[in-house]
């Protein structure tokens, strides 16, 4: 069964371990600036919201990609990026309505979640389970629906 990625902003402890795990997994260094996931923190409210590519079914980033470097991979049930096929046009960055893709001019990399080949490090590391990657069984889907209901307004506006 395909797995799906879920974020639970209400659980985020703002520790940003996800950013560290991600940058290390992808860059071999610790650098939140180059993370594919960001825990955005409202210091005044003590709230953190983890955000990352949600691997849309009909992903605009993949839609705009001229080379298929960004493409929906059915096996991974995600939108993956092939570095070797990227020509650095950066239009995926503009195309993503959520701002979940960026481009690193230094390394010429699109910085976007790639599900770490099926074992997302942010999920592994998150101490509060604010990011989950689970098989899309009934229970999980129900949970997802619950979250969707909870953040209805958010999803309504972006979808």
């Amino acid at each position: 069964m395909a797995k799906i990625l879920m974020i639970h902003p209400d659980k985020c402890a703002s520790c940003r371990n996800c950013e560290l795990a991600c940058s290390f997994a992808h860059e071999g260094v610790f650098n939140p600036n180059k993370s594919r996931v960001h825990a955005l923190v409202w210091e005044r409210l003590g709230l953190g919201v983890p955000l990352m590519c949600m691997h849309c079914d009909d992903a605009p980033c993949a839609g705009v990609c001229p080379t298929g470097a960004l493409h929906r991979d059915e096996e991974a049930n995600g939108v993956l990026w092939d570095k070797n096929k990227c020509i650095g046009c950066k239009l995926c960055v503009s195309a993503c309505p959520f701002g979940n893709a960026s481009y690193d001019n230094e390394t010429k990399q699109v910085i976007k979640c790639d599900l770490c080949g099926g074992d997302p490090q942010c999920v592994r590391i998150c101490p509060n389970q604010a990011i989950e990657y689970k098989e899309a069984n009934e229970g999980v889907m129900a949970k997802k629906a619950m979250y969707a209901e909870k953040f209805k307004k958010v999803f309504e506006e972006v979808e």
């Binding site: 960001h38 955000l51 001229p66 080379t67 650095g88 893709a101 953040f151 307004k153 958010v154 972006v158």
Partner: protein, 256 residues
């Protein structure tokens, strides 16, 4: 499928090129014009390898030559090295100050052919283009076709029609991005991006004020994905805006 690369057996996949197979097997072959995204240009010729199949030995461009069961590939021998040495010297005669070519020469321990390095005045010191063609192919792939090679032979260069700012250029910089020798300058200053002599007034993020894209890029995206969303935000602010919605939802829920 199995072939032999440099004396070692290597598992390869049907339909891939020698270069792809070698690289997957950790064997280094230099290239300038090759990109998985834009394969088949075959102009730089520094990826030449020796292939033995059906009793015939020949030198081929590894980036375009498909693997065949049982072929023997040599990526480094006297001839290949001699050819590579000459080629890299030819490149540096063309672009004497380019650091990427210098680095390649260093990496492959290429002896200097001084006779070729004499600057006869025709080489512009700032020349960095080795005419690999990746930029043109990238622009073609984008569907924008703002640049192409113009003229031929020694006069060949990459440019826009009549060396004038191209109508179709959207300023995406893919050309600069794929360039292996950093020959294409894209500058961005005070909200203006300049590339190929075309200047773009960048759109300013309505939130943070960052200049983030050209109007043409946004139009391209809209046209291609038929999306009518708000394109006035940079990615950071889009993400922040998205997070803020979550935040507001949470805030309301927590009654704070």
């Amino acid at each position: 499928m199995e072939i032999i690369i440099d004396g070692k057996k290597a598992a390869v996949q049907e339909g891939e090129t020698i270069l792809q197979a070698a690289r997957r097997n950790g064997i280094d072959i230099p290239t300038l014009c090759y990109s998985d995204a834009l394969p088949g240009i075959t102009s730089c010729r520094i990826c030449m390898v020796e292939v033995k199949e059906n009793g015939v030995t020949k030198r081929v461009a590894s980036c375009a030559y498909p693997v065949h069961e049982g072929m023997e590939v040599t990526t480094d021998n006297e001839t290949i090295r001699r050819t590579r040495n000459v080629l890299l010297n030819l490149y540096s005669a063309r672009v004497p100050h380019n650091k990427d070519i210098k680095a390649l020469k260093e990496k492959y321990d290429v002896p200097e052919i001084k006779r070729l390095q004499v600057n006869k005045g025709e080489t512009h010191l700032a020349e960095n283009c080795v005419l690999c063609g990746l930029c043109v192919k990238a622009c073609e792939e984008m569907g924008t076709n703002a640049i192409s090679t113009v003229f031929r032979g020694a006069e060949k260069k990459v440019g826009t029609p009549f060396d004038e700012p191209s109508d179709s250029c959207i300023g995406c910089g893919a050309c600069a991005s794929v360039c292996p020798t950093e020959a294409i300058q894209m500058t961005q200053e005070n909200g203006v991006r300049t590339i190929w002599d075309k200047t773009f007034e960048l759109i300013q993020c309505k939130e943070c004020g960052k200049y983030f894209a050209t109007a043409q890029e946004i139009a391209y995206v809209k046209q291609k994905i038929g999306n009518d969303m708000d394109m006035a935000l940079c990615e950071k602010c889009k993400q922040k805006g998205n997070a803020a919605k979550f935040k507001e939802a949470l805030k309301a829920e927590l009654d704070i």
